[in-house]
Symmetry: C2
Subunit: 629 residues, 2 copies
Amino acid sequence: MQFHHHGYVSTDPRMQPAAGVGLDRPADLPDEVDVLIVGTGPAGMITAAQLAQFPDVNVRIIERRPERLAIGQADGIQARSVETFQAFGFAERITAEAYHLTEMAFWAPDPEDPSRIIKTASPPDDPTGVSEFPHLIVNQARVLDYFAEAAYNAPGRLTPDYGYEFKALEVTQEGDFPVRVTLAHTSGSQKDVERVIHAKYVVGADGARSGVRAAIGCTLAGQSANHAWGVMDVLANTDFPDIRTKSAIQSSTGGNILLIPREGGYLFRMYVDLGEVPEDDAGNVRKTSIDQIIAKANAIIAPYTLDVKNVAWSSVYEVGHRLTDRFDDVPADERGTRSPRVFIAGDACHTHSAKAGQGMNVSMQDGWNIGWKLGHVLDGRAPEALLDTYSLERQVVAQNLIDFDKEWSTLMAKPAAELGSPQEVADFYTRTAEFPAGFMTEYEPSMIVGTADHQELATGFPLGKRFKSARVVKVCDTNPAHLGHFHAADGRYRIYVFADRAAPAEASAVRELAEWLAGPESPIAVHTPAGRDSSSLFDVRVIYQQGHHDVNLNDVPDAFKPTVGPFELVNLENVYAKHPDIDIFEERGISRDGAIVVVRPDHYVSQVLPLTARDELAAFFRGALKPAS
Amino acid sequence: MQFHHHGYVSTDPRMQPAAGVGLDRPADLPDEVDVLIVGTGPAGMITAAQLAQFPDVNVRIIERRPERLAIGQADGIQARSVETFQAFGFAERITAEAYHLTEMAFWAPDPEDPSRIIKTASPPDDPTGVSEFPHLIVNQARVLDYFAEAAYNAPGRLTPDYGYEFKALEVTQEGDFPVRVTLAHTSGSQKDVERVIHAKYVVGADGARSGVRAAIGCTLAGQSANHAWGVMDVLANTDFPDIRTKSAIQSSTGGNILLIPREGGYLFRMYVDLGEVPEDDAGNVRKTSIDQIIAKANAIIAPYTLDVKNVAWSSVYEVGHRLTDRFDDVPADERGTRSPRVFIAGDACHTHSAKAGQGMNVSMQDGWNIGWKLGHVLDGRAPEALLDTYSLERQVVAQNLIDFDKEWSTLMAKPAAELGSPQEVADFYTRTAEFPAGFMTEYEPSMIVGTADHQELATGFPLGKRFKSARVVKVCDTNPAHLGHFHAADGRYRIYVFADRAAPAEASAVRELAEWLAGPESPIAVHTPAGRDSSSLFDVRVIYQQGHHDVNLNDVPDAFKPTVGPFELVNLENVYAKHPDIDIFEERGISRDGAIVVVRPDHYVSQVLPLTARDELAAFFRGALKPAS
Ligand SMILES: Cc1cc2nc3c(=O)[nH]c(=O)nc-3n(C[C@H](O)[C@H](O)[C@H](O)COP(=O)(O)OP(=O)(O)OC[C@H]3O[C@@H](n4cnc5c(N)ncnc54)[C@H](O)[C@@H]3O)c2cc1C
Ligand SMILES: Cc1cc2nc3c(=O)[nH]c(=O)nc-3n(C[C@H](O)[C@H](O)[C@H](O)COP(=O)(O)OP(=O)(O)OC[C@H]3O[C@@H](n4cnc5c(N)ncnc54)[C@H](O)[C@@H]3O)c2cc1C
């Protein structure tokens, strides 16, 4: 966290100085906005929090509900999401209040007496150490609270406009605010009164029954039948010994439960499988009562019993594997002829079972993806074409997720007798851990992801995958640190310069690169608007191969020590050295001749280049950004 | 963090349910209070935060200033303080915004050219791994903010009463509220108007010029002369390469600087030594201007230079080594004849140089010590005699600190030529690291600290020293965890039961103990008021020698699985097993026959006993607590 450089900050430094629209944000929804986000679920709130970092962009987020979400809905937070929370500044706080998942237990009928369940396996949740972040369980409401705080603490001071329902939209292609949106008040004296808002762009993060999706002519297609679960968040006493360990429980009668312990030490959630919903069900499954769900749970966990004392929340959650073919308003045959104006994100574009616990997580990555791209286009630093990459990138991710989820939920629903071995489910869980942890996303080459021409210079940072952090030492203060954890969600590209062998004071490729970076041909000079700090669009960091006692800051080129703020203070925190125990060059397969690794604002690796590849570096940014006007 | 067990908590779980006086706390200072705390510095605020955990005790804290502290004063946070913050629920948040100290640099004149300074050593700050908590630097104002939040989030909902100055007090020994305190408004329309408040107890945490101290006839005695430092919190550019590493800098002219990098990446503090203040100085040293301080700093760091851009705060901090002989209103010859009614804490009782960075830290430990003791006496669980232990325990600590601080500041002020070797200062720093980290406090036997009769059963938990945490696995959720980190500042005694060898289901000394603990003779039965949860005064935890897969919760005696709250839910989180990598029994020298370790509410070890020592355990608590009425 960097602060004080614009003057002393006496109160919570998480509150960034207000700027742009954040300086005098009107309390009421204005008639014209740059971006209108519909829905304050995880997809909408992360989009809002990201856009609030672009205070020159006028953003509003509306929500049908009269106030914040209080309870229920999703609760699984994969490691990639915690990594994302870290970038938004609240990982340590939500981690402190969440349940931590370290093992998963698998229970199945005892072969000797199938009327009783026994534990068959308890593999670690992250067997290969796929992330330094934990796997958490915490109510969706708290995730939304933290994003709300992040959006408000950001320079844009964004807060949701509750009590507005999206009704309809029309892309007029006219004027500066071509999307005409009709809303209605949902409460108060104005209830049901309609209002028209004009927006440059609309993000529909309005969930599985998305009205925005319908308005742009997309449909959720997929498997015809829904699957239903009785979901309950309860306080109960039980002799089931794994009640506070995530468990998949299969009984001999075909019933099965997914048990999710929850934050706070007492509450837990059970998903009791209610099976496929017949086409002609006509809402019958939704009438399953909480008593029926509890009775079913008791039958499945025999010989153990569950004594439910309090039901905090319950629901029949009915969902199918469904997906739209595009995530914006441009049909395939018009792609490239006009820019998208309306985007959909999260459950509005894809739905899947609760079993893999992916809904909230994938929705947040959708929202982050569109959030920074809209910020870049609207504050003038990137061309409109950037917006086409949103649908292209995220639709594929959703397709992969649905494929994975189908496999996983089919396996978990299999009667024990049909499984190859009682270990089969546990093995699949362990083998595929990277996927549900959120790290298998790999974007195709585009204007913001390069081709793998130089991948061998940094094999541990695969192009298109998220930058996997590793340990270094921050030279200036001798602190051991995770390099990736400095990548805040501030909309900036990162340029990591991994130095070649020479000592910092000696002639080297890295010194030559630094000289060029400080000169007029560099992307920094080309793209940074006049009068702004050199680090306002780019965050350039250097990592030396030497230990920190062998790096004297006075020997480090100025390109890695940018000056910032009104006092033109030198930022010394971008210079790193080898960690005493772990060599990042070895751990991430980085060439001893050095390498440049460019990372997008949302953590994905854009470029891997030799230190000498100045033209390629400049060319990449000429594609991804516009020259400063 | 445990929550939801009194019903679902939708918002921040750090906000505990209000109770007692917290339910309808009057906005205005009432005429009668149980405890009146004077001063909202670190000593006063931690006392308030601790007492807010006793919602049946009516506490108020007054402050002369009209509002929160904004800037300046102390900034060094030793590991013991971070451990304390953990107990108050904000360690992870303050850690995220603070500067982390991992190495300290020592600079001295170059022997070849004494006009230039060179680096002579850079030892790690915590060479022996004395704590799992970091050493931080962060402004005192933020520490106070977090304590204010903790006091408000606690059941007592305590907030400071700003704008009241303490004027005088009188211990009348009459009625239920025998301390008559005169206050005056310091601002607003009531400015200078006096008010009389009656209190059961008063805590004077009103700093080095304490009026409460004077009122009870104590004086700060010690070294006659003060030492002065020019202190500045500044934003500056410099070529001094260790500007973001804590550094002790000595120049050949005898000048010296203590450099403290500060939170946020840019700000730093410099203490520029202004030397002993002559008796007849008459405030002259305080007239040293900021420009003179900067000039002096530039001279000391030659050949490097400092270009100060912005002065956030500066002061001439003048202080001597001083101490009072008692920390309450009972003179030595009256000790035992009457209970203390007025206590002093923090700078009101002891002052020392800024060099060892101890002031804020030791003051907080004072406040915590008196806080829980007042809570215990006022909510009726402990006898009044407990209050005598405050002065007895803390006066010795302050004396030790002053001795250490004298040695340290003398050494640091020595001209380089007089030192045995350039390494001498660095060696002292490394050798004595445990002291400034805050872990050398060792309380003498008393009604709350036992004698070391059975110390050999747990050599790693020395009686009277603070319980040094170690790693275990929480059985119910398989989470690796630090045992000591569950010790929240909730006023409860901890009884850690380290099991003997037998498996949980087998007959064993630990099972026998558990049976007794659940019975009518146990301290739990004797001291817990009727109708309250069995864990409301005592927090009993069991640690098995086995790995967590070998502990089935159904085999664990009920004494370690207390029921809590309106739903009588079973708390499963008090059962631990061996960590896969580190065996707490080995790490802390615990007998394989098991041991009981009793820990006070402020983390200090009270008792080490064999599992069979039921009578001793009962006797200890009969001394420390009163039987429930
Ligand atoms: C009732 C419910 C129960 C769920 N239970 C589970 C579960 O048990 N396990 C699980 O993994 N996932 C569950 N989910 C799914 C999970 O919550 C989603 O995958 C995740 O929240 C997706 O985030 P999102 O932002 O895309 O959509 P959502 O979180 O659904 O957010 C959409 C938001 O848009 C608002 N909105 C909708 N229409 C309009 C409109 N016309 N105008 C204005 N605002 C509108 C909604 O009120 C809502 O706040 C549940 C979802 C719901 C709605
Ligand atoms: C101006 C100043 C600068 C300091 N600079 C440094 C430094 O550079 N380095 C360092 O290590 N330590 C410094 N200290 C010391 C350090 O802040 C203390 O060691 C630490 O704060 C002790 O905590 P405390 O709670 O005992 O007292 P304090 O923090 O001094 O708090 C006492 C509080 O009581 C209030 N108060 C005083 N009298 C009354 C009254 N009559 N009625 C009501 N309220 C009253 C004060 O306003 C204050 O808020 C400084 C202290 C001061 C006052």
